[in-house]
Amino acid sequence: MTPLLRIIDLHKSFGELVVLDGISLDVERGQKVSIIGPSGSGKTTLLRCINYLEKPTSGHIHIDGTLIGEKEVGGRFVHLSDRELAKERAGIGFVFQRFNLFPHLTALGNVTIAPQKVLGLSHDQAEARAREMLQKVGLGHKIDQYPERLSGGQQQRVAIARVLAMQPKLMLFDEATSALDPELIGEVLRVMRQLAEEGSTMVIVTHEIQFAGEVSDWVIFMDHGKIVEQGPPAQVLFDPQQPRTREFLKHIQDR
């Protein structure tokens, strides 16, 4: 069986700056993969390349056996049109560091709009699903609030509900708790942990080492655009083989 996500030799440069330098990676269905590493190591760019928010310089991404962002025509790869790309993105959930809720819509509106406009559900169906998802992230009582009236933790949970309502095959979390006050981190991690237990396939870029250890079944340490070390959390986090990994973990623990 093909893996849910397959990344093949991904490169990304911004001008002269090489951000991703040959990343290959398989993620199986239901697998939880955490990506750790110092800032500037390319982990966010990797995540953004997976749903083509960033166009890779070279390399390929497959989800469920489907090539993402491009298609093969007569042996050559060509980029997809905006419309085709949008269809593929609908199956990939992305949770942003800064939430990016739509400020002109209520919590309910934020979660309703994509299922309705993208998946073509009726307004009632989309709204029922949105209510259910907001309930699930513990915000059933806040559905009529606008984002600015919600705390950071609540906003991020709405953002997660917004992604869940699309019933994605794969969920990507880009430092989902980094913009939060310390006392609000727990509520977001709790929701993420719950999703992990329910069997979602998740790729998580995070600085929360302890959380990565508890939730993921595979941990990747990146530095300078390369995967330096990967393996089960017990190995990478608690018995790292590479000096760069040890150095990074020590640095984080000293904080």
Partner: protein, 227 residues
């Protein structure tokens, strides 16, 4: 010695209905030009943010030229040049009114294009990215996410433009449109009462534009309190 109250007492019954009638033309020009300006402005704002360089350059050129000309010059060009260029055509339908609407609308379109562009660009790129990541096409993200938010940002400057436009319609008297200013001129000089007539006209303009100003202020306060 001028005795304004007495002058008004004697003439107001004659002047006011006539001036108000022509004030209606002023409002019609302003309204039609406003609609045209919004449409032209939207089109050029989208062209200016287009990913095709040719369209961006064309849009920028139009905006800079139309903004750079005095309105009167633009009105003269729009009204007098086409008939000279194509004398064979029937220009009966091309009245001063039409010329005024087109001239003001083209000028306003350039101004509003910049207002709209600023409104679109004021939004964090995260909004667009969030929309795209949920599977929206660029058109859907524009329609459901970007424009509704940009509208709130641009409402106050657009309303301010509308107030300016209402007053700029007075320039249309120069291409012979019978709006309130043109009529005021003929009354004022026929009756030898420039002061009384122009003060009255000023009052009428004020009565038309002040409610708009008030509305803008209320609007700005609303938009500040809740988004």
């Amino acid at each position: 010695m001028l005795k304004l109250p007495q002058i008004y007492a004697e003439n107001i019954n004659r002047w006011l209905p006539e001036l108000l009638w022509f004030a209606l033309t002023t409002l019609k020009i302003a309204l039609a030009a406003f609609v045209l300006a919004v449409l032209v402005g939207l089109a050029f704002a989208l062209l200016r943010t287009s990913r095709f360089a040719v369209l961006r350059v064309l849009a920028t050129a139009y905006i800079e030229i139309a903004r750079g000309l005095p309105i009167v010059v633009l009105l003269y060009i729009v009204y007098f040049v086409p008939p000279q260029l194509f004398p064979g055509l029937n220009w009966q339908w091309f009245t001063g009114f039409t010329g005024a609407v087109v001239g003001l609308g083209l000028h306003g379109g350039a101004i509003l294009a910049e207002v709209f562009r600023a409104g679109i660009e004021a939004l964090h790129k995260g909004q667009r990215e969030a929309a795209m990541s949920l599977g929206m096409t660029p058109t859907q993200s524009m329609a459901y996410i970007i424009l509704p938010q940009a509208t709130r940002i641009v409402l106050p400057p657009v309303a301010n433009y509308a107030i300016g436009l209402l007053k700029d319609t007075s320039l249309c008297s120069l291409i012979g449109v019978n709006e309130i200013m043109n009529d005021a001129k003929s009354i004022a000089f026929a009756d030898y009462q420039p002061m009384a007539v122009f003060v009255l006209v000023a009052a009428i303009y004020f009565v038309m534009s002040y409610p708009l100003s008030l509305a803008v202020r209320v609007l700005e306060r609303r938009l500040n309190v809740s988004r």
